[in-house]
């Protein structure tokens, strides 16, 4: 074992491999840059794929690799499972899949760190050990955190926040103990007990971090876990002295970080609020709130109103995903467009369970991306909109966020559907949304409610519109 450690230092770098990594890094950045426009995105990502393939093939010739059995088994099994995911995961399940992939990425980083520590703890420099500690802590907490998030999104674990008295204190104790173990390992590399204590506390902390968070806050959590998973990969790069890992991990980490900030802004939460995991703590007191009568509209009336409109804007929310209603929306839009109605879609940044969730669903239903409007772009148009159709969205169209400074979501930017001439809200039942907040939109003069499963309702509406 010692000879291997020495070999590690003495051997001259493998220039061909390093050069392959360099090319791959450039292709990764190129690929991400191509994502700035949907027309260039696909080709760019193909380049990134080529870079990845080259880096993996090149690594198989690494001079430290002597045994191929486990490698080949891992590559084959991983490719099979990965291909199955790629082919068969439905678009509505993208949030769960993404959470799971954060867990997979993080567990890989954590295991590499633990294995490195097991084999080389004695010969590592202080700096390498601190990078390794960070890698393992981020890796372990992201693993369990993402698994919990995935469970909540899949419905295996209840989506409601799990909160109890003293939770914040307990979390702080766990966190401080984890850091304490880390500090001890920094000064005494042979204290394996503390190292495994740190690993266990990391796993525990990940669970504690995500259980208090409700499903509606998932876009922030997903972005944050994305960031942690990336940073743990970057830390792996520091441990192994491997630049491509540092570059790819940092890109991933920053991407997640930027998305977290965007999601925070879209929910009017501060980033510190998020970083310390306190974002489950929004109080859900309904207060006096809006009262009044909700007006129901019949399917036929709704169809007539839509058919004779000049401009219709659809505002989708998570309800669209749960009802798998994206194709039904498209059918209705087709029927309307055939009559000469202008149809647009207003997409709130935190609609759904992950960043961009709604865009992907609508794109799947063949909605051209030119018809998908961001919140800032659609809001000025709502004054001149005849009918705004809210499909399974609630908080993102709640006028309380704008009008009521005492509302828990006060200050959150919304899609101002209440400015449209009429609003039709498609809703499963009369209950409140995920956040449990009363929505005054539903009581407004120009709002009509249409209850039922969004997919059925939309299909029937499309049929009615064709018959008008």
């Amino acid at each position: 074992m010692d000879t291997q450690a020495i070999q590690h230092v003495v051997q001259s770098p493998n220039y061909i491999l390093e050069f392959t990594y360099l090319i791959a890094s450039i292709l990764f950045i190129w690929g991400l840059k191509s994502l700035s426009h949907p027309d260039t995105a696909r080709r760019g990502m193909h380049l990134a794929e080529a870079g990845m393939a080259a880096a993996i093939l090149g690594t198989l010739f690494h001079h430290d690799i002597h045994f191929f059995g486990w490698i080949i088994a891992g590559l084959i099994l991983g490719s099979l499972v990965g291909a199955a995911f790629a082919l068969w995961v439905p678009m509505t399940a993208m949030p769960q899949r993404t959470a799971l992939s954060h867990a997979f990425g993080a567990v890989a980083a954590a295991l590499v760190g633990i294995a490195e520590f097991t084999m080389h703890a004695g010969t590592m420099s202080m700096f390498t050990r601190s990078a390794l500690g960070l890698e393992v802590m981020l890796g372990t907490l992201t693993t369990t955190g993402s698994l919990i998030a995935c469970g909540k999104l899949q419905g295996v674990i209840r989506g409601t926040p799990v909160q109890f008295k003293g939770q914040q204190v307990l979390n702080l104790v766990i966190f401080v103990s984890m850091i304490g173990c880390f500090g001890h390992v920094l000064y005494d590399p042979l204290a394996t007990g503390y190292f495994y204590g740190m690993v266990a506390l990391g796993f525990l902390f990940g669970v504690m971090l995500v259980i208090p968070i409700g499903s509606a806050d998932m876009p922030v959590v997903m972005s944050l876990l994305n960031s942690y998973a990336g940073l743990s990969s970057a830390a792996t790069g520091f441990v192994l002295g491997n630049n491509i890992l540092i570059i790819a991990g940092t890109l991933d980490g920053f991407s997640g970080f930027i998305l977290s900030i965007l999601m925070c802004k879209a929910m009017n939460r501060s980033i510190t609020n998020v970083l310390f995991g306190g974002f489950g703590a929004v109080q859900h007191e309904a207060g006096p709130g809006a009262q009044g009568e909700m007006r129901e509209i019949s399917l036929e009336d709704a169809a007539v109103r839509l058919a004779y409109a000049g401009k219709v804007v659809f505002v989708p929310g998570y309800g669209l995903a749960t009802a798998q209603a994206q194709h039904a929306v498209r059918d209705l839009a087709n029927a309307l467009e055939a009559r000469g109605v202008t149809v647009k879609y207003g997409i709130h940044p935190v609609a759904g369970r992950m960043p961009g969730h709604m865009n992907v669903l609508l794109a799947e239903a063949n909605v051209p991306y030119g018809d998908l409007y961001e919140m800032e772009a659609i809001n000025p148009e709502l004054d001149s909109t005849d009918v705004a159709v809210v499909v399974g969205a609630n908080d993102v169209v709640n006028p309380d966020a704008r009008d009521n400074p005492n509302s828990p979501i006060a200050g959150m930017p919304i899609i101002e559907v209440d400015k449209a001439k009429t609003v039709i809200v498609l809703k499963r039942g009369q209950g409140r949304g995920f956040s449990g907040l009363e929505n005054p939109l539903f009581f407004k003069q120009n709002t009509s409610m249409l209850y039922g499963d969004a997919k059925n309702t939309l299909s029937q509406l499309a049929q009615e519109v064709k018959n008008v």
């Binding site: 074992m1 291997q4 791959a24 991400l32 994502l35 700035s36 426009h37 949907p38 027309d39 995105a41 696909r42 990502m45 193909h46 990134a48 993996i56 690594t59 198989l60 690494h62 430290d64 002597h66 045994f67 490698i71 891992g74 590559l75 991983g78 499972v81 990965g82 995911f85 790629a86 993208m94 993404t98 992939s101 567990v107 890989a108 295991l111 590499v112 294995a115 097991t118 084999m119 390498t128 997903m222 994305n226 790069g237 192994l240 002295g241 630049n243 491509i244 890992l245 540092i246 790819a248 991990g249 940092t250 890109l251 920053f254 930027i258 961009g356 794109a363 063949n366 051209p368 961001e374």
Partner: protein, 116 residues
């Protein structure tokens, strides 16, 4: 780690962070889900680290059962194997799904449908 190598690594980190910020803040919200999937696939490059761990040491089931220091190399191999597996899943499914999603984003489907 040699101090010079460390400093070079910090340079790489700082520049990658800056570049990442510049590149990723230009990605429109339209493509945020594919972005997450793509960065996930790309950070699956940690596979190259896992490969080296999974293939560097000899796996010996007897030593593994015996435990102690002798078992370390076999444990490391097993951990490397799991890491290779999960990282490969991420690379394959990440790129696969990104492509599947990007394929769906089209500028004007009506024209295409009319052409048929």
């Amino acid at each position: 780690m040699d101090p010079m190598v460390l400093i070079a690594a910090l340079y790489v980190f700082a520049l990658a962070a800056f570049l990442g910020y510049q590149v990723i803040s230009r990605v429109p919200p339209l493509l945020h889900t594919p972005l997450m999937s793509a960065t996930n696939a790309i950070s699956g490059i940690s596979l190259v680290g896992s490969l080296v761990i999974a293939g560097a040491y000899e796996f010996n089931a007897h030593k593994l059962m015996a435990g102690g220091v002798e078992a370390h190399a076999s444990w490391a191999t097993l951990m490397g194997f799991v890491a290779v597996f999960t990282a490969t899943v991420n690379v394959v499914s990440g790129f696969g799904l990104t492509d599947r999603m990007l394929k769906m984003f089209r500028k004007d489907i009506k024209k295409k449908e009319a052409a048929k």
